[in-house]
Assembly symmetry: C2
Homo-oligomer: 276 residues x 2
C-alpha cells in the first residue's frame, strides 16, 4: 500500500485522460473557434458543449430569445475537427424542477456584472462544474471576453480541487475593435456602427492610465459619462486588479478595465488588460 | 465528429477508471473496515482517505481533540489490502485561509443534526466534493450511521452530475447494539455501559410503529423524554421518510428514525430504518 500525502503525488498515481473542453452556449463565431483551436493545441481529443443554461439567466433577460443554431454550429465544429459535440437538452442537465445543490462563489459574484445580474455567476459556476463532471476534461478553454466569469471559474477550480487546467484565450475582435459576441446579432445596423465605441472607451482609459492618471474613481466616472453622452446606458466601467479583480489602487500594476453598457436593449461587455 | 445528447452516451464514449474510495476521518474501527470491504467488492483499486476536516466542525466542537491515529490506521488498511491511503495535511486541502467556493446544500442541511451544527453539512459536502475531485473514484462508500450525511452526498452527486456511484453500507454495531463510532472513545466506562440505550430507544420507536402507532409527533416526544429520564440530553429523535428525509406522515412507508443525544460531553448519533 502506498501512503500519499499530497494531491500532486495522487495525480501522478492516477492515469491521465487527454481531453480539452470548450463549453459554449452555441451560435458559434470566430471567438468560439479560437477556443477550439486553443483546445486542440492542449489535448488529443476535443469536446465542445452547446447548452443555453437557464440557471445563469435572470428574469427579463434573453434566455428564450438567445440564438440557437445547432446545425450551423455542428457544421463549423466538424470543419474544425472536433471529436464530440455535447448538446444536451434542459431536462438532461436539470431533470428536476430545481437545482438544489449549487456552487456558491465568494463576494466577487455580487460585483461588476453580478451587481446587475443577481445569481448569474452562481448559475455559471454550477453549470460549469456540472459540465466538467460530465465531460471530465483535462483542459478547458474560456475566453477573456467574459473576464469575471473566467476569474470565478479559475477560483472555483483551484478552491474545489477540480482536476481541470483552465486555458484563458484572448478576446476575438472584429476589424473595427468590437469584441465578438453572439449578442452582437441583436444590434441594428445603426447600432452596429457605433458599437466599437465601447472598446474605444476602454482604450481611452488605458491610454490615460499609461499617461499617468491615477485618480481611478474620477477616471471611471469620466469614461462612463463620455459613453453615455454617445447614447449608451452604462452599467459600469471599472479599473480592477487583473488577477484578483479587487478594486485597483496605486499599488496595482497589472490592471484590467472592465465595462458593461447597453445600446437600447442590447447589453455588451468588454475589457482590456494593461500593465502600468 | 459524434453529436451526443445524453450524459449516458457521453459516459460510454469516455474511458472508465475503476477505483472505489472510502473517505474517513481516521481512528478506524470495524465500521470503517466494512466500508473498505464494500469498496473492494466494487472496484479493482481501493483508495482510503484520512482527513479530519476543519470545515465541518463548529466552534466548541471536538476538532482539536478528535482522535488522530495514522500509524495504527495505516496498519489496519495494509492488512485489508488497500492500494492507496491518502492522508493530506490541512494546508494541502486548504492552502488559503478561507475556502471561498462552497457547495451549498438545500434546506435539509439546516434540519436534524444541521439544527445543532450550523455549517456542518456545507463543510461535509464541500470537502467530499474536493476529495472526489482529487481521487476521481468510480465508487465511494459511506456508512448509513451518518444517514443525513449520506442523503446530502447522494443529493449532491445526483444534482451536480458528480461521476461517482455512492455505495451505502450498513451501520456496524457492537454486540450490545451501540453503533460503532470514533466518538465512542470519549465515553467513560460507566457511560459506555448505558450508551446502548440510544439504539434501544430507536428499537422501541420502531416497535411502536410496527405495532401501528401513527402519532409521530407525540411518539417522538415520548422517546425523547424516556431517553432524557435515563440521563441523556437529547438533541432530537425524529421519524422521517427514509429516502427524502422529509417529516414522515401516514403516507410514508419507508421510514427512518434518527436520533442525536449527549452523555455529558459526548454527542452520539444513530438511526434505524423500518418499513411500515
Amino acid at each position: 500500500m502506498q501512503i500519499i500525502h499530497t494531491i500532486n503525488e495522487l495525480n501522478t498515481w492516477r492515469k491521465q485522460q487527454q481531453i480539452a473542453f470548450v463549453p459554449t452556449m452555441g451560435n458559434l463565431h470566430a471567438g468560439h473557434l479560437a477556443l477550439v483551436k486553443a483546445a486542440k493545441e492542449h489535448a488529443e481529443h476535443v469536446v465542445v458543449s452547446i447548452f443555453v443554461n437557464p440557471l445563469q439567466f435572470g428574469q427579463g433577460e434573453d434566455y428564450s430569445s438567445y440564438p440557437r443554431t445547432l446545425q450551423e454550429d455542428a457544421d463549423k465544429l466538424i470543419e474544425c475537427g472536433v471529436d464530440v459535440l455535447f448538446a444536451p437538452d434542459v431536462k438532461e442537465l436539470y431533470p428536476h424542477t430545481n437545482q438544489d445543490y449549487c456552487v456558491e462563489p465568494p463576494a466577487l459574484q455580487h460585483e461588476l456584472c453580478g451587481r446587475f445580474r443577481p445569481g448569474h455567476f452562481r448559475g455559471v459556476a454550477t453549470v460549469v462544474l456540472k459540465l466538467f463532471n460530465i465531460v471530465r476534461p483535462d483542459f478547458a478553454c474560456f475566453g477573456k471576453k467574459d473576464y469575471q466569469q473566467l476569474a470565478i471559474i479559475q477560483g472555483m477550480v483551484a478552491d474545489l480541487n477540480v482536476p481541470v487546467t483552465i486555458i484563458p484565450v484572448d478576446t476575438g475582435r472584429d476589424i473595427d475593435g468590437l469584441a465578438l459576441s453572439s449578442r452582437n446579432g441583436y444590434l441594428s445596423p445603426q447600432e452596429r456602427v457605433i458599437a466599437p465605441q465601447l472598446y474605444q472607451m476602454l482604450c481611452w482609459v488605458r491610454d490615460e492610465l499609461i499617461a499617468g492618471r491615477r485618480d481611478f474613481a474620477s477616471l471611471q466616472t469620466d469614461a462612463m459619462m463620455k459613453l453615455n453622452q454617445q447614447g449608451w446606458q452604462t452599467d459600469y466601467i471599472e479599473i480592477r486588479d487583473a488577477k484578483t479583480l479587487e478594486k485597483a489602487n496605486e499599488n496595482h500594476h497589472d490592471i484590467v478595465i472592465l465595462a458593461a453598457s447597453r445600446l437600447s436593449n442590447t447589453r455588451l461587455i468588454d475589457n482590456l488588460e494593461v500593465h502600468i
